[in-house]
Structure formats: C-alpha cells, structure tokens
Symmetry: C2
Subunit: 210 residues, 2 copies
DNA sequence: TTGCTCGGTTAGTGAGCGTTAACCTCGCCA
DNA sequence: TGGCGAGGTTAACGCTCACTAACCGAGCAA
C-alpha cells in the first residue's frame, strides 16, 4: 500500500524530471547538474540513486515499453473477458494509447527519439517490447479489417502510432482543444485511417491501376 | 544549368552526410570528425565550407522548411491553375508530402527533432515556415471538409503529419511494402483520417454525449 | 617565375561534462 | 553514547569534442 500516487519517492521524482528534460532538449543536451537542480539536489548527488545518466534513460525507456505492452495486453484480456468483439478491443487499445500520449508526453517523445543511446541489451529489450506491442495491434486490426494484408496492417499501425504520438511534438499545447475533444478527435482519426486503409486494399485487390 | 542532379558540390555532399548522421544519432551524438570522414576529408576541413556544426544544422532545417512550404504553395497554385477542386489540391499536397517523407527521411526526422538546437533567429524562421505550411493544409482541408472546426482541423493536420512522417522512425525499412504501395497506403490513411475527423465533428455537432 | 587563392592537413587548446573521491551530517538502533 | 548507513556536499580528474593555428601543395593568372 504505497505506490498509488503516494508521495513520489526520490527515484521517481528524479526520473520524472529527467524525462521532462530529456524530452525538451535531448539526452546529450541535458547535464546531470541540471537534472539534480530540478529536484533540489545538485549534481553528483544523483549517483546515490542511479549508476549514471545512462541508467536513468534505460530505466525510463524500458519502463515505458513495458507499461505500453502490458497495458495493451490487459486491455485485450479485459475486452475479451467481457465478451466484447474486436471492434471494442481496438477502441480500447486506441483509447489507452491516447491516454498515454496525452498524459506522458515526455516519455512518448523519448520513446522513439533516444532509443539508440542505450546499451545493446537494453535496446534489444525495448525493441522486443515495441515489436510485441505492435503485433498486439496488428492482430486486432486484422480482425476488424480482414481485407488488409499483414504488411500493410503493420505499416498502418506504425503510421497510426505516429498520428497518436503527434501531440507531444506541438510547440505549444494551447493550440489543442480541451483534452476530451482532443482524445475524441485522435480516436476518430485513428479509426478512420484504419478503415480507409482496409477499404483501399479491398478495392485495389483486383484492379491495380489508377 | 548546374544544380539538377549534376555532380553534387562539396557543400551539398557534406550536408547530405550530416543530415544522415544527425538523423541516426542526434545532433550532439555526431562529431565533426565523423562528418568529415563521411565525405573523405577529415575533421576541421569542414570549416572551409561551414562556419561550424551549428551552421550545418541551421542550413538543413531552414532548407527543408522552405522546400516544404514553397513546394506546397506550388502544388496549390498548379492545382488551381488547372481548374481542379480542393479534393485534387488536397491529394496533391498529400502526395508531395509523402514523396518528401519517403525520399528525405533523414531530413524529416531532423525537422521535428533538433529544432531547439538552433539560434533564436533561425528557429523563429523555421517555426514561421512550419506554421505557414500547416495553414496551407488547414485551408485546403476545411474546403474539403467544411464541417470541421478550425481548431480540430489544425490538430488533425498535425496528427496527419505525424502519420506521414512515421516511416522514417521504422528501425528497418525492409518491413515496408514497396514504395508505390507504401505511398498509396499512406495516402489512403491520411484521407481516411481527415474524412473521419470531419464525419465525427458533424455527428457530434448537436449531440455531445456518448 | 612569382604569387595568390582554394581546400586540404596535423597539432593544440579550452570548455563542458560525466564520474569519482573525500568528507559531512543527520536519524536511528543497540 | 557510540556507531553506522543513507543521502547529501564540494573539489577535482579526465575525456571528449568543437574549434583555431599554422602549415602546405596544387592550380592558375599575370
């Protein structure tokens, strides 16, 4: 009984600020002194909590990949457990991902920006989790849209991730409508994209001209 | 009579390699020696062509922003000149952006990743060009889908950029279908996304519940 | 020939930064 | 009360890296 939005431990506090700073200025663009200052201690004090700057990034990236993947699995399990069909499952996956993109913008940004700064083993782990997460989506998308070939489904999933993850790239978030409207809009965009991909694949099936 | 895929000048060669390297490992992750080595000269020889590392990044980012914006304007002008409607104009914009995303993957990656490494004046310029480019799209999208409110149209355009720019993020491009198929797929995804955004906006107009 | 510019070279410098060392001070348990 | 570990501090080290200095050889014009 201690983890749920209790007072954040020092480690968590550091990770949060590090994520924000890394997302803002890039891993190499942020010094340890800055991270320390952001949590009120200075510089090398961080080494009481982490082995080094790399370790912070690794923990962030592995953490988010795991949360995305296990969260996605839980989504599908719950949806199946409730006897719902693939449409509802896809909706649930999309909504969960949108929550992530809107709530943890910094982490989303890091996720596809700083992956190659990791040690080989960590990078492999993150890549594997990402792949599994993608395959989760591909499976559901192809249940909803059986006409879509697997390769195109996978490319579509990647593209929709780009779509859903686009809001953190905005310079000033004030340009967005309120959260609920934005979430609904992103959801519609994603569903519409998948539907169009499948539609086009069906039409192009026999007639591959203009 | 000297620029069109003639032998690339040294400057262009350097810029090309720098773009590739920056995209791969980030601006701070690449040393000048590496860039030099990539074009066969070593290290400080670059300073005969550029004032510094920053200048290369600036030229790359300003260059791509300008090409996107002026390219988009030309698209619309040609489309209007041919007496075509907004649907065709939107298709042309999308296709042009897809060409960009597929041909200049490195530049697309840099474009939204390293913008804050620039001097203030350059960053302002790039931001302004980006804004103008977005507004180009917003105008056309709202002609095609008048039901879509401006704020949502703008957010949708940003999201679709994320979608179209997603392919460079792929670890290995071999996962994609061939270029023509990919381009067609991306086009369908983008159009489908816009259509769904507009559709939902129309439906949600009077009934804002579940 | 002379001499200048263009585009290289290698050596060196100075700053920034991740990391470590050495030390200090609470709070707590025996 | 005495010790000790957890979590800080400042100082310093060493490496990396952008950039500069000094030099050089080809091409070419006068």
């Amino acid at each position: 009984m201690s983890s749920r939005t209790d007072a954040p431990t020092r480690r968590e506090q550091i990770l949060g600020e590090a994520a924000r700073l890394f997302a803002e200025r890039g891993f190499h663009g942020v010094g340890v002194d800055e991270i320390g200052a952001a949590v009120g201690i200075s510089g090398p004090g961080l080494y009481r909590h982490f082995a080094g700057k790399d370790a912070m990034l690794a923990e962030l990236l592995v953490g988010i990949s795991e949360r995305l993947y296990t969260g996605g699995r839980r989504c599908l399990a719950e949806s199946a457990g409730a006897g719902l069909g693939p449409e509802a499952a896809l909706d649930a996956l999309i909504d969960r991902h949108i929550d992530f993109a809107l709530d943890d913008r910094a982490l989303i940004t890091l996720h596809d920006r700083e992956l190659d700064r990791l040690r080989d083993s960590d990078r492999k782990l993150v890549r594997q989790l990402q792949r599994q997460y993608v395959e989760l989506w591909v499976g559901v998308v192809r249940e909803v849209h059986p006409a879509l070939p697997e390769k195109e489904a996978r490319a579509s999933v990647h593209a929709v991730f780009g779509l859903l993850n686009s809001t953190p790239h905005l310079s000033r978030p004030s340009a967005l409508p309120d959260r609920a409207t934005t979430a609904a809009l992103l959801h519609r965009l994603a569903r519409g994209a998948f539907a169009a991909a499948a539609d086009g694949a069906r039409n192009a099936d026999g007639a591959a001209g203009a």
